[in-house]
């Protein structure tokens, strides 16, 4: 008997050790779905950040796909009306995923309101594996996760259930690509200052208007036959079938999951509000383009099941500025768009729901971070030369500003341009500088170098805090074509005609913006690689989260 007990104890100890090592290794090999991972950026922060929130402290939870993820900023809402919320939307979040995140979320919070973006009601399937895994892998092992994994496996192979519960079996071959980040992940800051919202400064103006979108949709609806004429191996075939080109039917499976979500909300005494973040895009190219027909269909569905619905595109008087509000031509919002959408939503919520507005000291700290990131984001989105330079002068005095011109920057600099440069401390008189090269370095509000020449000019130095070597080169109109702003061996200049500016945060060793204003032309157009600049923002944001946030 004693020996048997010894055996049992040994086996238990061995299994205990095994489990501990298993979970430790699993943690290391799990992909880190956050910056600098380019594929998913902050995916794993969304849920892990949620777990960090104080219990029962949130009033609103929002769900949905990337439309919601990029379209609603809880911090904007908090700043405006003091209501705490958390954006739990994830990329292509299908309704079953929403349901299980909601179940998980309700373990720690008792929100008054759940807001769900309805894009997922039009999904034809429940999405790719990664879409589920972003979420699954952020959840600790629990009954909910087991059910979630089971649901996941129903749509995959039978092995995916086990690999969803124990992702080590799925990612074991990542041993080849492990890096420092994988080992230091244990110590990373889990708090997510922006409460699930993904701030972005990517920017492509809207491609079409709401009216055009709906017209295309109507044209598509009129095509009710599928026609196919083929010549193959000398044989002619003709296939004509009844089939509509534009189908707006909501699949029963999606309704089923919506009702499950509704039931859960009612059981927990939570109000459910369906909404739609505007998406104005070609309906023939993007299935999630938000056409009016879809709106009517959802409206009807909501009436049927007695669910509140507020469509920001068709129900509100929202006048979104599609020239600047979108990150990709109308499909998703950028920071400008998110600020506006949140504002409209805020007005609606204040009017229709009794939400508690309360000062929260932790949130105030997060708000500080949010504002810091937002300020940089707004700088990166700024398109007006004078406003931009004024911002540099007023808000970026503690930063290092590198200026280099290409071909000519004086032609349409104008009085206001010369004035603003003067305010920055630049002494050069540009009134007779047509076709000249120009360089300037401003450190902590002081111009430490400026030079004007009728041929190529260069300057090199070392930054004050980060001790980075930098090298600047500018070319005149008739002398060479090279322009450089190199910091620590990396080129940052836009390298376009006009005034090229790089804003560098010396203390944090991060470039904040790289822009060129074409002061050679009258409009003083802005040139910016928004994808690259957005990466600067992400790096800055990531730095703040890891080093400075609570």
């Amino acid at each position: 008997m004693k020996k048997n007990m010894q055996y049992i104890l040994k086996v238990l100890m061995f299994l205990g050790g095994f489990t501990a090592i298993f979970f430790l290794i699993q943690r290391i090999v799990l992909p880190k779905w956050y910056y600098p991972d380019k594929t998913a950026r902050f995916m794993s922060r969304i849920l892990t950040g949620y777990y960090e929130e104080e219990k029962e402290s949130l009033e609103i939870l929002t769900f949905g796909s990337s439309h919601m993820q990029y379209g609603f900023s809880p911090m904007e809402l908090y700043e405006k009306c003091g209501v705490t919320s958390y954006n739990l939307a994830t990329s292509s979040q299908s309704l079953p995923v929403t349901y299980y995140i909601l179940q998980e979320a309700l373990k720690t919070q008792k929100p008054k309101l759940i807001i769900l973006d309805v894009a997922s009601l039009y999904y034809l399937d429940f999405g790719e594996e990664t879409i589920w895994r972003y979420v699954l892998e952020s959840m600790p092992l629990s009954r909910n996760k087991i059910e979630f994994s089971y649901e996941f496996s129903k749509q995959r192979s039978e092995n995916s259930f086990v690999s969803a519960l124990f992702p080590l079996l799925r990612y074991h071959d990542r041993w080849k690509e492990l890096n420092k980040q994988d080992y230091t992940d244990f110590f990373r800051n889990r708090n997510f200052y922006s409460k699930g919202y993904s701030i972005t400064t990517r920017y492509i103006s809207g491609i079409i208007t709401v009216e055009t979108m709906n017209n295309i949709q109507k044209e598509m609806e009129q095509i009710e036959e599928s026609l196919l004429y083929e010549y193959h191996n000398g044989i002619y075939t003709e296939k004509i079938e009844k089939s509509t080109l534009y189908d707006i039917t909501v699949l029963d499976e999606n309704v089923k999951w919506l009702l499950k979500i509704l039931e859960l909300c009612r059981k927990e005494d939570i109000e459910l509000l369906l909404t739609k973040i505007p998406v104005v895009y070609y309906p023939n190219k993007y299935r999630s383009a938000w056409t009016q027909n879809k709106y009517f269909e959802i409206k009807e569905l909501c009436n049927k099941y007695d669910i509140n619905y507020y469509d920001i595109l068709y129900d509100s008087d929202a006048e979104l500025n599609w020239d600047v509000d979108s990150m990709d031509g109308g499909a998703h919002m950028n920071l400008f768009g998110a600020i506006e959408v949140t504002e409209y939503l805020c007005d609606y919520l204040i009017e229709h729901y009794e939400l508690k507005s309360e000062y929260n000291s932790d949130w105030e700290k997060d708000l500080e971070i949010y504002k810091t990131v937002k300020d940089v984001a707004l700088l990166e989105l700024e398109t007006d030369f004078i406003t931009y330079m004024n911002k540099l002068m007023n808000e970026y005095q503690d930063k290092t500003i590198f200026i280099a011109s290409q071909e000519d920057m004086a032609r349409y600099l104008g009085d206001d341009g010369r004035e603003v440069l003067k305010k920055l401390g630049i002494k050069t008189d540009f009134s007779d500088a047509y076709g000249s090269s120009f360089l300037a370095v401003i450190e902590n509000g002081t111009v430490i170098y400026e030079g004007l020449a009728n041929r190529t000019i260069s300057y090199s130095g070392e930054t004050l805090n980060s001790n980075r070597n930098y090298y600047l080169e500018s070319c005149a109109l008739y002398a060479s074509l090279t322009l450089s702003i190199i910091i620590g061996n990396k080129e940052y200049a836009m390298n376009k005609r006009g005034i090229n500016i790089v804003v560098y945060d010396d203390k944090r060793d991060i470039v904040l913006d790289s822009v060129c204003f074409n002061t050679w032309s009258e409009n003083r157009d802005v040139y910016r690689n928004y994808i690259v600049v957005n990466e600067y923002l992400l790096e800055f944001e990531s730095y703040l989260i890891e080093k400075e946030a609570r």
Binding site: Y7, G17, F18, F22, L169, H172, D173, W175
Partner: protein, 528 residues
């Protein structure tokens, strides 16, 4: 694949349930748990396959019972009549003939007929269609799981009963367990039922050490199969799947890799099988005895797939060699052509029979025929020309007792086996010819440093894993030659022991080839 693969999670779960049930029921009925588990395991491969194995097991069991019954009757009569010597033999003869004509031959015809039908009907029909140029195969030929293995074992058992080497198993259910026993059904070893039944009938108490040792052997098997063999498989599949794209030394590397691959795959599987069985307290015969340490091809085949070799020796080689016809023919040859030719003849006939059957066992293509012929010739020539080889060695003053020469013999055996792989690994004779042509078309030494080798499914880290893995297996094999490695580990203190176990388990979990982007690969010998 159709069955619960040994390298799947399903198998681990299945096994855990079996172990828990096995040791939680009364010791007397533990074998019933194994029987039920084995039938369930078999049913997982497809319920349609079940009738074949049931029929085979019943035919063999019934025939053995009847043969034994007739023998018992004859024995009783012999005792009653107090017969001895020649009289006894003469009296016994008609009984034996009765057994042979009414039970042994019909049973063998049925059982072997089933094997031939299941294994070769498809090929024969395809050949027929190719010749006649029309017709479609209208029915599906079912190939029962492990048909070659259980048919060979069953035939061996029936012959043993017929030859009175063993007593029959009285209970059909216990006999069925021998046939169905799940660890050995897919890939062998080819078990001898007399050895197995004793173990099923003995009292299998829970033995902590046995269970631990079994698990350790399984993990080692998984290491060989999933970490080394399947990794090598990426390379060989790429090269032999795209022969026209490669040339020169790439083929040589692929052949060497394929040699290691088949060994790691097959012996790894055997470790899993024997480990599984050991957990239940059942020892299965070894199928591998470090064949790559062999100094000759004959020795190699004694140490590689040992149970198949032993089966052929007992049920083909010896019966053929000692058959009246061969003895008579040898005598005639001796009279006409002399002693040396007669010796060659008497060795060649049984050897040819064995290698002909070995070829068929491995495959029905011409490449397997040539492969069998290749080994037959090597073994025959080394047996017959032993004296001549010795003379040649003496002429060149080669000392065959030195360590260096023995190492050369080991390398030579490895090379000969690798050449054998060249005949079958590419898939068919045309492919083999293409590989040979490709191999001699270029002496591209630069592939070792120009990155070519990293474009075949393996990167630098994979090669490191392979070489380290092979080194570990070699070290373990060297230790195994002297001692039981598991016993050696068991003597260490608990900390070292557990570190070894954890490292082994997590090596398989982390470095094993499975899961996303990798289809669980079938064990190479499971097709037989």
């Amino acid at each position: 694949m159709g069955y619960i693969a040994f390298n799947s999670l399903k198998y681990i779960i299945f096994l855990v349930i079996c172990i828990l049930l096995y040791y939680s029921v009364s010791i007397k009925i533990r074998w019933i748990i194994l029987l039920i588990a084995s039938i369930i395991f078999y049913v997982f491969a497809g319920i349609k396959k079940l009738p074949f194995i049931l029929l085979t097991s019943f035919i063999i069991w019934y025939a053995s019972k009847r043969i034994s019954g007739i023998y018992t009757q004859a024995d009783a009569e012999i005792i009653r009549q107090e017969l001895k010597g020649k009289e006894k033999v003469e009296f016994f003869r008609p009984y034996k003939r009765q057994c042979r004509n009414y039970f042994l031959f019909p049973a063998l015809v049925l059982v072997v007929g089933m094997l031939i039908y299941c294994k070769f009907a498809g090929t024969l029909i395809e050949m027929f269609q190719a010749i006649t140029g029309n017709g479609e195969l209208t029915w599906q030929i079912i190939v029962p799981l492990g048909i070659s293995y259980y048919t060979f074992s069953s035939v061996g058992y029936l012959l043993d009963v017929y030859w009175r080497k063993q007593k029959p198993i009285n209970s059909y259910l216990k006999f069925a367990l021998c046939v169905f026993y799940f660890p050995q059904i897919v890939q062998g070893p080819i078990v001898r039922y007399n050895r197995l039944i004793v173990q099923f009938e003995k009292e299998n108490y829970f033995d902590f050490k046995n269970v631990c040792f079994g698990m350790q052997l399984m993990i080692y098997g998984y290491f060989k199969k999933m970490v080394i063999a399947d990794r090598l498989g990426l390379f060989t599949a790429e090269v032999f799947g795209n022969i026209p794209q490669y040339q020169g030394l790439v083929f040589l590397i692929a052949l060497i890799f394929s040699t290691f691959q088949i060994y790691m795959d097959f012996s790894g599987c055997m470790d899993i099988v024997r480990g599984t069985s050991q957990i239940f307290g059942i020892e299965l015969d070894k199928n591998f005895d470090h064949p790559f340490f062999s100094k000759s091809i004959a020795e190699f085949w004694r140490r590689w797939h040992c149970t198949l070799g032993a089966w052929f020796k007992d049920y083909v080689y010896l019966p053929v060699a000692t058959s009246a016809q061969v003895i008579r023919a040898t005598k005639k040859v001796k009279e006409k052509r002399g002693a040396i030719v007669a010796k060659t003849f008497s060795t060649a006939v049984p050897l040819a029979s064995v290698w002909f059957l070995t070829s068929i066992w491995h495959g029905t293509g011409w490449n397997y025929m040539i492969w069998g012929f290749y080994y037959g010739i090597i073994i025959l020539s080394s047996a017959i020309l032993e004296e001549e080889y010795k003379k040649i060695a003496d002429f060149f003053k080669i000392d065959r007792t030195t360590q260096g020469y023995q190492k050369f013999q080991v390398v030579r055996t490895f090379a000969l086996f690798t050449i054998g792989r060249l005949i079958v690994a590419p898939g068919n004779l045309n492919a083999t010819m293409e590989v040979i042509r490709g191999m001699f078309s270029s002496f591209n030494l630069w592939i070792f440093w120009d990155g070519t080798l990293y474009q075949m499914g393996l990167d630098f880290k994979d090669y490191m894993v392979i070489f380290l893995g092979l080194w570990i297996v070699r070290k373990v094999s060297q230790l195994q030659e002297k001692n039981s490695v598991r016993e050696m580990i068991a003597e260490k203190n608990i900390l070292i022991r557990w570190i070894i176990y954890y490292v082994a388990i997590f090596t398989v979990i982390l470095l094993g080839m499975y899961g996303n982007g990798y289809e669980a690969s079938a064990f190479m010998y499971a097709q037989f």
